[in-house]
């Protein structure tokens, strides 16, 4: 499994965010996208998720699957959590499980991995920002998808939750998945490289 970006160029409005950006992420590897605010980290993640069309360039996941688009093999957790305030923690997770084609047996495990078991029947409207973030992240575990796209995954998470997330990501990498995360703080992962976006995007050394 290998995610390959070839000469991606993204233009938002009048502004060119990055030009001819090429990188490859292997199975079991995490790519941390860093850079100042407005450098195009979210744009890059949304491009991989298929929500944005790059101005030029191509993205593919090897080996390719003729049945599924790249976006259907990606989990995307953006700034917003995709959590419905009117549904309980369990209902939120169960909906995404069924909608994204996961097995319902995974729901309990996903909730437990993010320490949400005790909160399962609480409506999401009553949760704190960090708890809501964890409900959004629990989506990663209910349906099996090889590519995880995480946008500031640790935002509003406390220390213990950040460690939970690092464990979950490590498990995904160990199982041969790959992670692309936009982040300002180190995620504390073993196999992680850094892609720095800035005025001039370039590939940096392993972090």
């Amino acid at each position: 499994m290998k995610l390959i970006a070839e000469a991606l160029t993204s233009i938002r409005g009048e502004r060119t965010l990055f030009t001819d950006l090429s990188f490859a992420v292997e199975a079991g590897e995490a790519l941390a996208i860093t850079g100042p605010n407005g450098a195009g980290k979210t744009t890059l993640l949304r491009t991989i998720a298929g929500l944005l069309k790059p101005a030029r360039g191509a993205l593919r996941l090897d080996p390719s699957d003729p049945e599924q688009l790249l976006s259907q093999r990606c989990h995307y957790v953006g700034h917003l959590n995709g959590v419905k305030a009117g549904l309980s923690v369990e209902e939120n997770t169960a909906f995404w499980c069924r909608f994204l084609g996961g097995a319902s047996a995974r729901i309990d495990g996903a909730l437990a991995a993010f320490g949400l078991s005790a909160l399962r029947s609480i409506p999401a409207a009553y949760l704190s920002a960090g708890q809501r973030r964890r409900v959004g992240l629990a989506r990663l575990l209910v349906a099996e998808r090889p590519v995880w796209l995480l946008d500031e995954p640790t935002s509003s998470l406390d220390q213990a939750s950040q460690e939970m997330l690092a464990r979950v990501i490590d498990g995904h990498l160990a199982a041969g998945g790959l992670v692309v995360a936009a982040t300002h703080v180190p995620l504390g992962l073993a196999r992680s490289r850094e892609l720095r976006l800035g005025a001039e995007a370039q590939f940096a050394r392993p972090a």
């Binding site: 998720a49 929500l51 700034h79 009117g86 549904l87 995404w96 069924r98 909608f99």
Partner: protein, 222 residues
């Protein structure tokens, strides 16, 4: 297919729990139709004559109130982006949201309409036709409305823009919906063609509107 059903079920559950959208539409409908006879005065013949038109116009306005929220809540909490990475194509997503809107707004409004007909001295023989024409016509309102809702999704306070966009799209439904009722109460043979055209508008929008709404959504997600 199962993802389509899942999405509809989630929207129905949310609408049921939050209650606001159904309540606002039904309340608005009730208020408009109650106030109108008070404004016009106790001229029963006049009320009978304008009843079909009033019931249809007020229904469209009541539906318009909730159309703007069709995709907005999912955009605001980030669900729309995740839904877009799911196995359901965007057209299927738009169709599911439209169906949910019809079940939570169009159908209750259509069910309330005969009751409100009492306030407008609607002719007794018109009740069945009124219910039939609204059942046949309201799907077009929800499905065409999805196109407008998708187009105005990122327009802050896009309510007025949505109203202007939907006006020409709703006119055929309005015209043939009223015409069907009028023809039936007059005992004219024009009822069948009007009613069939109304059905045709709904069926066409069932097929075409989700495609247009999906194209609009794709732009909005950019």
């Amino acid at each position: 297919m199962s993802t389509f059903v899942e999405l509809v079920r989630r929207d129905l559950r949310l609408a049921w729990r939050e209650g606001g959208t159904i309540g606002v539409a039904l309340g608005f409908y009730l208020v408009v139709v109650t106030m109108l006879p008070l404004g016009i005065g106790p001229d029963l013949n006049l009320l009978t004559r304008i009843a079909p038109g009033v019931l249809w116009v007020a229904l469209l306005l009541a539906a318009l109130l909730s159309l703007g929220r069709m995709f907005e809540t999912d955009l605001e909490d980030g669900s729309l982006e995740v839904l877009a990475t799911g196995p359901l194509p965007l057209a299927g997503l738009a169709a599911a949201k439209s169906l949910a809107h019809w079940l939570t707004t169009g159908l209750p409004l259509a069910a309330l309409a005969p009751l409100l007909g009492l306030l407008l001295n609607l002719e007794p023989e018109a009740y069945g036709v009124l219910a039939a024409s609204m059942l046949a016509g309201t799907p077009a309102v929800s499905f065409l409305g999805a196109v407008g809702a998708a187009l105005t999704l990122r327009a802050r306070r896009g309510g007025m823009l949505l109203a202007f966009l939907m006006l020409p799209l709703f006119v055929p439904t309005l015209v043939f919906g009223i015409e069907a009722i009028r023809a039936a109460t007059l005992g004219s043979a024009a009822f069948v063609p009007s009613f069939l055209i109304l059905c045709a508008i709904s069926l066409a929008s069932l097929v075409l509107a989700p495609l247009a709404a999906a194209a609009a959504l794709r732009l909005q997600l950019q």
